[in-house]
Symmetry: C2
Subunit: 151 residues, 2 copies
DNA sequence: CAGATGTAGTTGAATCTTCAATCTCATGGT
DNA sequence: ACCATGAGATTGAAGATTCAACTACATCTG
């Protein structure tokens, strides 16, 4: 007989603000990247991940995990970016099932082109409006959420 | 000559955790609602908004603003929910361009059915893993983001 | 090494979201 | 009253995401 532990009034209020704030950030960032690079925000994250990897190369599954993409989603995304010329796929010699995704020069160029505007937006919408303490708090809060989910 | 104000190392770390945590919450909630009610999480928010409105009725544009949906998105969503029998649309007498969305009994029933599981999930992934102070902090942080965006 | 099971990755169909175009009605200025 | 402009809402097409198969290869067990 599990009683539902409903949210208290203040909790509801926090939850609503959370939904509003996260959606706000997400849609603005998405819009900007779409406008400036014809690129959904999630694809941008893929490019960033690749750009930081050794040889700008990652196994598909690593990349999926790192960017918190489902395998399927990543496949579709990389296919799209491959046809745009930003990424190429190569075979994995040691595991013939495997595939590498490699960021091309063109992909890197796109990334470099949008990065400044992207950072500026993240800064102006998030970091500029929080105190340094709040930034720390946000880090802790997000850590707690991420850690808790690892079960 | 605006220099780019890149993110500092710690800021980058916070931003990554933020992206991870928010995506985690979003996808889990989405999955649960989809499984339990065949309902995307965003549609759930529409139903909640309607359920709390006087007469379970709202103007489309109000609803769009309240739920932070674009008009287009809301139109599609309501069309889908209307064909599922959860919502009906009626004309606005005072402004012939306008339309009302009204939650049906069936819609309310769906909402009642999923709400407990939804709340339980939000609680277990968010409120249960934060201290009361962190919940307050999160509320403040989200407020700051929302306020800043009102320009 | 045979068979079962598990892992890496892709594909297609269905659904959702966005954008731009469109339609209808309301409003303000002349 | 007329016209321009703007607001409320919908539509269709293009692209994105999910889910459930599915292919191909790897690994484990006996």
């Amino acid at each position: 007989m599990d009683e539902v532990r409903w949210l208290t009034g203040p909790e509801q209020e926090v939850w609503r603000r959370y939904l509003a704030a996260t959606r706000l950030l997400e849609t603005e960032i998405d819009r900007q990247l779409q406008r400036d690079a014809g690129l959904p925000a999630t694809y941008f994250e893929i490019l960033v991940a690749l750009s930081e990897a050794p040889d700008r190369t990652m196994r598909m599954s690593e990349l999926a995990e790192f960017a918190r993409f489902s395998r399927s989603r990543l496949s579709h995304a990389v296919a799209r970016m491959e046809s745009a010329g930003w990424v190429v796929r190569t075979e994995c010699p040691s595991d013939k099932r495997g595939a590498f995704a490699v960021l091309t020069e063109a992909g890197f160029a796109v990334l470099s082109g949008v990065a400044p505007g992207h950072v500026e937006l993240v800064r102006s919408m998030l970091f500029d409006v929080l105190t340094p303490e709040q930034v720390d708090q946000l880090g802790e809060i997000c850590s707690a959420i991420n850690e808790a989910a690892k079960n």
